[in-house]
Amino acid sequence: MSALLEVEGLRKRFGGGRALFGAARPEVRAVDGISFTLARGETLGLVGETGSGKSTLGRLVLRLIEPSEGRVRFEGQEVTGVSAAALRAMRPRMQMVFQDPYGSLDPRMTAGAIIAEPMTAHGMARAEAARRVAELLGRVGLSPAMAARYPHEFSGGQRQRIGIARAIALDPALVVLDEPVSALDVSVQAQILNLLAEIQARSGVAFLFIAHDLGVVRHVSDRVAVMYLGRIVEMAPRDALYGAPRHPYTVSLLSAVPRPDPAKERNRPRIRPIGEIGSAAALPSGCRFHPRCPRARIVAARGGETVEAAGARLPRPCVEQDPLLAPAGEAAHLAACHFPDEA
């Protein structure tokens, strides 16, 4: 069976060129060569820190932003390169839920009008749309009587339910969820996560779930991709990634998450401060993680050919060669590291 979504060599550069008075503007490579596929009904979790390019990637997939290079195919059809009208015709099948439950709903429209909009925009009769709105409100756990209310009369969690109802109104095959629960309180987060799981179980929709919270991503995903400075550095089935991470960045991320277990937290070794994510405007040479990489330092200390970089002696390949996403361990486990087998 062919994949629902195929992404190949996707890149997005912002800026670059020269400003009006001649100052060169740095080019930001927000998404820098990403390929992956997503099957029907699957959830791919996309994690990364601020500046990793994960939100840009989500928008490129839906072509809400024009990619600089690369292609996206959805249900066998080209998404990149087609006309605006052809793209609009595909929209019902690929939808998005946004991070900000306050900002992503038009404050001047009622909840009912917001949910009806995708349906009427794609040609459904008003009466039919109104009937569907009542049904959709029920499906996302709201009362149909709430259709007359305005967004500001709802709590954050309820607003996110409205955003979800809007996204599933046309029965899409893919929904890109951009940090859908990060603006919500913990107790409400769980409601929304369960709702999404229930929707997926019923409709077989595939999710591209973008988040920075590793716990949330683990909870919802079948597979997980970890992004760092515009690249996927590791991608694997959920349990493989959390159980046996191969990329040192994934290892650092996982070990940094504070867990609600005082006994474990007290005895945890202190995290080696690895600095902060660099800038996509000034990408490091070779492996883009090398300035922060604890593993590169360990490997270098053991011998082998090293070079001076980022204030330390590091293995030559780390500094000079950009590692490709390659099988590491199990077949479905991919990591972009020169030393994926180091513990």
């Binding site: 107790s187 716990g215 909870h219 995290i271 401060p273």
Partner: protein
């Protein structure tokens, strides 16, 4: 040993359409020198308002209508605004969530730290600058002598938060109140900032209040915890006690609704139904009753406000024991 900072029955309110709306009610807390108290709650639980009220920073028309806020025995709420201003910064430091808005973008980082010092101490510009460099070094900013002349936008989010921490500890406060200090930061940076806060507390013997919504951060950093819901403390105790055997149904539910990175595969989340009540429309009786799995009319959940009971580990629930059974 007396508490470095203590709240007794603090109640703060804003005028509403139908009388005063109580944002926080009868909050009593204390934190000792060298100790970290975590205050946990969701948005609207009053965890931030509690401390802004105590420090006289509650925006108008909000005001404190009852209670005491004791800083080493002295009631801050009885001080003149000027005296209170001198206590803030000097003896009680604060770090807020957003490291971007806390710094003025048009001034150099060093100038902003020096400004804090010179507002309280009779020192020269030069001396203030030297101390600013030393403070940047204390919060582990590399190359502080050079970075002191940078502007905030030249710092990353984590570094800005370190600068704000440097400003908060500049005058050697006895109490440091950190309100969601790592929420806006990425997880790897968050860990570093938390470690820094812990180190500073130990080195200076400060009492620390850590306001957060993240139970992982509590487990990692705090000695004791106070859980707030709808303007009240509903459970308090040592972190070990509360995490091992939470007593309030809200706390119990909160633990069950967190997607943990190490939870066994297939764990389902048990969310808490509904959302926290609007402060103007809190239910009679226990404010958590409408969302509670252990609610019982017979026990008085819908008619009487539960009081904090217990020794050391306290919870405000009519159904203690029964609640744990249900869990």
């Amino acid at each position: 040993m007396t508490a470095a900072f203590e709240l007794r029955g603090l109640t703060a309110a804003v005028p509403g359409e139908k009388g005063a709306v109580r944002l926080v009610e009868e909050v009593s807390l204390h934190v000792r020198a060298g100790e970290t108290l975590a205050v946990v709650g969701e948005s609207g639980s009053g965890k931030t308002v509690t401390f802004t009220s105590a420090l006289g920073l509650l925006p108008k028309p909000g005001r404190v209508i009852a209670g005491e806020a004791l800083l080493e025995g002295e009631d801050l709420l009885k001080l003149s605004p000027e005296a209170l201003r001198r206590r803030r910064g000097a003896r009680i430091g604060m770090v807020f969530q957003d490291p971007l808005t806390g710094l003025n973008p048009v001034f150099r980082v060093g100038e902003q730290i020096a400004e804090v010092l010179r507002a309280h101490l009779p020192i020269s510009r030069r001396e203030a600058r030297e101390r600013a460099v030393a403070l940047l070094a204390r919060v582990q900013i590399p190359d502080p002598a050079r970075r002191v002349d940078d502007y905030p936008h030249q710092f990353s989010g984590g570094m800005r938060q370190r600068v704000l921490i440097a400003m908060a500890i500049a005058l050697g406060p006895r109490v440091l109140i950190a309100d969601e200090p790592t929420t806006a930061l990425d997880v790897t940076v968050q860990a570093q900032v938390l470690d820094l806060l812990g180190d500073l507390r130990d080195a200076e013997g400060m009492a620390m209040v850590l306001i957060t919504h993240d139970l992982g951060v509590v487990a990692r950093q705090a000695d004791r915890v106070a859980v707030m819901y709808a303007g009240r403390v509903v459970e308090t105790g040592t972190v070990a006690e509360v995490f091992a055997a939470p007593r309030h149904p809200y706390t119990i539910s909160l633990f069950r609704s967190i997607p943990d990175v190490e939870a066994p595969a297939g764990t389902t989340l048990a969310p808490i139904a509904g959302s926290p009540p609007d402060p103007a429309r809190r239910p009679v009786g226990c404010a958590f009753a409408p969302r509670c799995f252990a609610v019982s009319d017979a026990a008085g959940c819908r008619s009487a406000r539960p009081l904090l009971i217990g020794a050391g580990h306290e919870a405000a629930c009519h159904r203690q024991g029964a609640a744990e059974l249900a869990a």
